[in-house]
Symmetry: C2
Subunit: 216 residues, 2 copies
Amino acid sequence: MGDSTQLTDLPIHEFLERLGSSDPVPGGGSAAALAAAMGAALVAMVAELTIGRPAYAEHEEAIRKIRFDAIDRRVELLDLAQQDADAYDVVVRARHLPKETEAEKAARSSALEAAMVDAARIPLRAAVVASEVLDLAERIAPIGNKNAASDAGVAAQLAAAGIRGALLNVRINLPYLAADEPMRASAPVEIARLEALATNGEHAALAAVDARLVAS
Amino acid sequence: MGDSTQLTDLPIHEFLERLGSSDPVPGGGSAAALAAAMGAALVAMVAELTIGRPAYAEHEEAIRKIRFDAIDRRVELLDLAQQDADAYDVVVRARHLPKETEAEKAARSSALEAAMVDAARIPLRAAVVASEVLDLAERIAPIGNKNAASDAGVAAQLAAAGIRGALLNVRINLPYLAADEPMRASAPVEIARLEALATNGEHAALAAVDARLVAS
């Protein structure tokens, strides 16, 4: 990014300007993680608006657990948004290494391969955590405060978009990994698993939200 | 929100804390608009990474136009995120009006109906602008810098989630509109149109991104 500012300390309007600038960092990986972090925050809000209300006392314990987990995922996803930017910064630096001589080419290539491990590993972790947020949204949608049903639905949409967006970032970086890097074999399986979770979780959460919007 | 801070001036980590708090403002409407604003920023970044590169000279003019439009939509969506929070704040205040006497009940009810017009109108506008961002992502995905194909894909995911999330906020508020409010009749038609745009645009954009990820 050209300086050491933490993304998460930036005012939103400034973050959006940097996201849209000609600097490739921050990019889609950070944006996907932040979308899922907003989803986690919305799950926590729905829980807050439910806890302590007599009409929802039956689910109090489950919802306290959901709130706790949602806050945990929000914090991790915010950290992953930063980590993704840092990792991609290392990739950009490796790309700018000299490639005149054979020795320089070899050094640049192995620097890029090393940098790509984090550039693939971090969005893969973000997709996993986003899938946990989607699960929390799916669980709170039918039992949370009915007046916040749309918020549970938005949480599910943002978590699903976060999963799919993070996985695109894994996929674009995989071809640059070293031939013997284990993620080359393991990531495609994990990608397929997480894509299925995104589709199923999104449908289930939105069906629950729809039922409550119609009933209200 | 209890104070007059502009959401968009908040550092990201603080915005996420407020989003997750027991205060219903900001809520899902602001989060959906912000997700689409991140999508618009990513479209602008892909354009920035494409403009001026000889390999993409053929599409230079189209991409300059896409960049211009993406920046415009980013600014409007950020403003809509704030407007949504402000509008819902008015709803919350109306809900807290006294409802002891018949006169108080009538006054509270008409204050709520009036507040709900903005609470439905603003996310409907956000869904329209998010659908324009999705269109921009779909257009840049096949012709933008191939190395940023995943960013165009994340932009499409975030725009689609922004549309659907904003529409959930319209739907939850519609039943509270006055019986003679024109949006009661017009909004369902517009909601169906925008949902179809979200589905079709997302598929088209991701097919274009997939083709470029496989080819790379």
